[in-house]
């Protein structure tokens, strides 16, 4: 073979044929041969060197991607698709900070005071031409929040909320487009009865958190400062609240769970067509390309695939972004414009993905040797080493152990945890443990499949294929393993940690009990309101009373109870009264209950009923009242809301309810379970007619802590997304593998092999590594979940977190096999045997 410099030549290492680049002894036959006149090294034109050689080799590699004919193009398309899917997920993940920031900005821009702040009137702006009275008002419709505010301008310069052109006047309202559509629809007919105001405008995007948010501003000339109505001179106030460090750990784990499989996917995708690439490179070696040169060419191919993947990823991302309004976060969809990757993260993706592609390709080229005929002899199957695979999870354990020991030895998750680097350590430890699971899988698959023997032909074909080379399958499954392990751990954490936040679920199974609260009313008003609620169609029963907390004593002996004020008719619904007259007082004791009201608040006890911070700041004195000597102890009775109401029950003449600071009227009601959904909305309509600021909620449901709910939503959405992604990557990898074995498969069919046999072999080939991966993921996930709960000092409340995820993983196996069948059918057509 005569050496030449045609772009694939021997001098691509930049040595100009000096022969010390490893190409002289590669079997090309040039070694020791005297150069022919005019063709000696001294006569040859010098090849490019340094950066020029790099550029030439990279470009040549890129050209191989595009010039491999139909086969090459299909392979490039598959690589681009798989890398693109990964890039799209990364881009979406990189958009989350921006998205949250944008939502925060939107929330902030329309808020009037920091969340939870209780601003005394003296600290509020003084009345003027540029002030506005503001009352937060929210209602629910079919379990969806309909949020809004009541506004009363106090002058021509009153501030206008963002997204609103002009303040609505009395009897007018402006609504979000989604609320406008709902009110105009048949579905929203019941809701429209609650909004009697005339719609005079639409709230623009700037004033909404999401495109489907139900939001309104009502104009009023009746609200006055105090009792939830505040004076403001502008909109915009930060709503940031402290986030539980446990939530931070959870969120970090969710990120790891979602992003590690993506890295695995990209790593798998850039190895598509690896065998063909190795053959090409071997051929290049034979014509004199140096080792470094072939690696650069391989890098060029990988780079090109990665760059195509970046482009495809950008396209997929833009396509998926269009569905942002359907992604509901805490009841509200997302504006597509808010889903934009953070510039730094986008740049990181653009650099990291090609770099990962090159690194993985070069790593895969280890041990590839050129054969005289240009083929590549695969090195004998090497036994995978276990020791370094164990080091990674061991490092993860080492990072988690101090936190666990600290938690066990000291208090539970003290403030030190939040402020210190423990959160970072916990997240890093979890990431290393999950990574360790991914790296352990190839070893586990190899060890297990090596022991598989016998079985029918389909099983034999699959197991032998895995024994010969389990790497691609294990790599493809590594993603699913990390995703499931992480999701199991996070699910365990969520259920374990949430246990401390929620009351006992399902105390009222029917969910048909309602509770509403609003300003205190006079006895006559109470009676009228109760009648109005009872007269509402679908409402079976309703009681209304004024209530406030009361305490007696100070320090450790301090006891707290509730004073309920209502007429005899209502009180007899709350307790078993043998007789009742206006002026009577009762001490209601729950039979068998934990609270001994009769003992703690005997007749003669002085009770103190104090207002909230705003009332205190205004100097409103606490209301002091003594339980009269004539008070009788009675037994409670189950109220319409499904719970016993214990404490002090007083008739209106016995206590001056209007003098109790911050007392509130509570309505307990029960609706017809058969007409539940509509009855609830009619009840809300009645409530809104009494007081637009009245909030009605259903009792007996599980109340989720917001942050946990958000993490759980993220996990569910992300988990489904990752499983779909992993399924797609498995599918692409399976199709790629089938394409690589097309000839062998079609020969098998030509020899009479039933396609069902081949289909089963594909199923086993997918199922064996996935089952092993899921087993490892379950063990690893449960272990990690247990560790993380130990870290935060919570017990394990749910050991069955893995069941749905493992089920989903099994569904992925079946789906991948079914979706791969058309390709198998097509590739095993006898025409595939033609080589011309």
């Amino acid at each position: 073979m005569t050496a030449h410099n045609d772009g694939t030549g021997n001098d691509s290492t930049g040595n100009n044929g000096a022969g010390n680049d490893g190409t002289r002894s590669d079997g090309s036959g040039r070694e020791g041969r005297a150069p022919r006149p005019g063709h000696g090294p001294a006569d040859r034109p010098a090849g490019p060197s340094g950066p020029a050689a790099w550029l030439r080799d990279l470009l040549m590699g890129a050209r191989f991607t595009a010039t491999g004919g139909r086969e090459g193009l299909v392979r490039a398309a598959l690589t681009a698709l798989a890398v693109g899917l990964g890039v799209a997920v990364l881009a979406i993940a990189a958009s989350v900070p921006q998205l949250l920031d944008a939502r925060d900005q939107r929330t902030t821009s329309r808020s009037v005071f920091p969340a939870g702040a209780d601003i005394p009137p003296d600290d509020q702006p003084r009345k003027g031409a540029g002030t506005l009275l503001y009352q937060h008002a929210a209602t629910d419709f079919r379990d969806r929040l309909v949020d809004g505010a009541i506004l009363r301008p106090e002058g021509p310069g009153a501030p206008v909320p963002p997204g609103v052109a002009a303040l609505p006047g009395p009897g007018e309202m402006v609504v979000s487009p989604a609320l406008g559509r709902l009110l105009a629809s048949d579905e929203g007919k019941l809701l429209s009865e609650r909004f009697r105001h005339r719609t005079v405008g639409t709230i623009g995007d700037a004033g909404l958190i999401g495109p489907d948010e139900l939001f309104f501003y009502l104009g009023s000339d009746r609200i006055t400062q105090g009792g939830g109505v505040v004076r403001i001179d502008g909109f915009g106030s930060s709503q940031d609240g402290p986030v539980d460090p446990r939530i931070v750990v959870l969120a970090a784990m969710v990120c790891v769970v979602l992003l590690l499989p993506v890295a695995v996917l990209i790593g798998t995708a850039v190895r598509f067509g690896g065998e063909g690439r190795e053959r090409r490179l071997a051929a290049l070696r034979l014509v004199g390309a140096g080792i470094a040169s072939t690696r650069r060419i391989a890098a060029g191919e990988a780079l090109c695939g990665a760059l195509l993947g970046l482009l495809a990823g950008a396209g997929i991302f833009l396509f998926v972004r269009g569905f942002a309004p359907h992604v509901v976060i805490r009841d509200v969809g997302v504006f597509p414009a808010d889903v934009t990757p953070a510039p730094v993260l986008a740049a990181l993706i653009a650099v990291a993905v090609p770099a990962l592609a090159v690194a993985v390709t070069l790593f895969a080229l280890r041990g590839v040797a050129a054969e005289p005929l240009g083929a590549v002899r695969e090195a004998p199957v090497r036994r995978r080493r276990l020791w370094w695979r164990l080091l990674i999870p061991a490092a993860g354990l080492a990072l988690l152990a101090p936190g666990v020991l600290q938690t066990r030895g000291a208090l539970v998750f003290g403030p030190a945890f939040a402020g210190s680097g423990q959160t970072v350590l916990a997240a890093a430890g979890a990431a290393l443990l999950l990574t360790g699971i991914a790296t352990l899988l190839p070893w586990l698959v190899q060890v297990c499949v090596a022991r598989l023997r016998g079985g029918p032909p389909a099983w034999q074909l699959a197991t032998r294929r895995l024994q010969a080379n389990s790497g691609p399958a294990a790599r493809a499954v590594a993603g699913i393993t990390v995703a499931v392990a992480g999701a199991v751990a996070v699910q365990m954490m969520v259920s374990g940690m949430r246990g401390g936040y929620e009351g006992p679920p399902g105390t009222v199974a029917s969910h048909s009990q309602l509770q509403a609260q609003y300003r205190p009313g006079t006895p006559d008003e109470l009676r009228a309101h109760t009648e109005a609620f009872r007269a509402t169609p679908g409402v079976r029963d309703a009681v209304a009373f004024v209530e406030q907390y009361a305490e007696s004593g100070k320090g450790p002996g301090r006891k707290v109870t509730t004073v309920h004020v209502a007429g005899c008719a209502t009180l007899s619904r709350l307790a078993k009264l043998d007789s009742c007259r206006d002026g009577d007082v009762f001490v209601a004791q729950e039979k068998g209950g934990d609270v001994n009201t009769a003992k703690w608040f005997p007749p003669g006890t002085e009770l103190v009923m104090d207002g909230f911070e705003e009332a205190k700041a205004q100097g409103v004195p606490a209301y002091r009242w003594t339980v009269p000597r004539t008070a009788r102890v009675v037994e409670t009775r189950t109220a319409p809301a499904g719970e016993d109401t214990y404490g002090i029950l007083a008739t209106p003449s016995a206590i001056d309810a209007r003098a109790i600071p911050d007392a509130r009227t509570t309505v307990l009601a029960r609706v017809d379970p058969a007409d539940r959904d509509d009855a609830i909305e009619r009840f809300r309509n009645t409530a809104a007619a009494i007081d637009p600021g009245m909030r009605v909620w259903r009792r007996g449901g599980v109340v989720k802590e917001d942050h946990f709910a958000a993490v759980e939503e993220g996990l569910t959405t992300g988990g489904v997304g990752v499983l779909v992604l992993v399924g797609l990557s498995l599918l692409v990898a399976t199709v790629e593998q089938l394409r690589g074995r097309r000839r062998a498969l079609s020969v098998l069919v030509a020899c009479g092999t039933n396609r069902s046999t081949l289909a089963w072999s594909v199923l086993w080939q997918t199922a064996i590594p996935v089952v092993l991966g899921l087993a490892l993921a379950t063990a690893g996930g449960l272990g990690l979940g247990r560790l993380m709960l130990a870290l935060v000092g919570e017990p394990v409340r749910d050991w069955s977190a893995f069941v749905p995820l493992v089920g989903a993983g099994a569904a992925v196996i079946v789906a991948v096999t079914l979706l791969a069948l058309p390709t198998l059918w097509r590739l095993t057509r006898p025409e595939s045997m033609r080589t011309e």
Partner: protein
């Protein structure tokens, strides 16, 4: 179109097959008798392999018919043709025919196992054929670990293990040196004669065709019997 000769085991008449604008077969006739070895010769691209694939029921011709005994292949379902290929026919190709993940003995046993024979028994029969073809020593190796000649003998063993009535061999020595090629042909034809199997041998090498009883030349998609010329 000429009628199929009487007594033929496999006969094709008027075969036409085109791949897009390219006509591979244009009214080809062919027949082979039990125990007969027929070489199909012709230049590259003349349609030899297409003829073999049509005869074996691997692909359906656009026109014409193929009869195997009393059965017309075009009237058989895909499953029936698969069963026919599995039980009655044997195949040897130039390369890429062995399943790379299976050992040599497993490759040879595979057709028997697909036919329902138990693994142990199938591998015992496979071993007998490997011994006969002088490659028993590579039984535990994978195709990638044996030489081209050994691999081709393993392929011949696989073609013969079901005792087929027709063996289709498409350039069986194309990737071998002359010495190995001749040994493979000797073993193949010897075994075929012992079992009275007919052999359809596609080749463009005269020295390989010399192992046949009769030669058919395919040119421009038509098959011409050269028996007279040879005699």
């Amino acid at each position: 179109m000429t009628p199929a000769p009487s007594g033929s085991l496999l006969a094709a008449t008027g075969l036409r097959k085109a791949y897009g604008p390219t006509t591979a077969l244009d009214g080809a006739d062919f027949s082979v008798h039990p125990g007969e070895i027929v070489a199909v010769m012709g230049p590259s691209g003349s349609g030899k392999s297409t003829l073999l694939h049509c005869l074996a029921g691997i692909i359906r011709p656009d026109a014409g018919s193929v009869r195997y005994g009393a059965r017309k292949l075009s009237e058989l379902s895909d499953a029936e043709r698969s069963a026919l290929r599995r039980g009655e026919f044997g195949f040897v190709f130039q390369f890429g025919q062995l399943v790379p993940e299976l050992t040599c003995v497993e490759n040879v046993a595979l057709p028997l196992r697909l036919g329902g024979v138990r693994r142990k028994e199938a591998e015992q029969q496979a071993m007998r054929w490997l011994e006969r073809l002088e490659v028993a020593g590579v039984r535990g190796k994978r195709p990638g670990e044996v030489s081209g000649g050994q691999g081709q003998r393993v392929a011949v063993a696989r073609a013969l293990v079901t005792t087929p009535r027709v063996i289709f061999a498409d350039e069986p020595t194309g990737a071998l040196d002359s010495l190995n090629g001749e040994r493979v042909m000797e073993l193949l034809t010897e075994a075929a004669r012992d079992t009275r199997a007919a052999v359809v041998l596609v080749t463009h090498e005269a020295r390989v065709a010399a192992y046949s009883d009769r030669e058919v030349v395919v040119r421009d998609g038509r098959a011409r019997d050269m028996a007279g010329a040879r005699l």
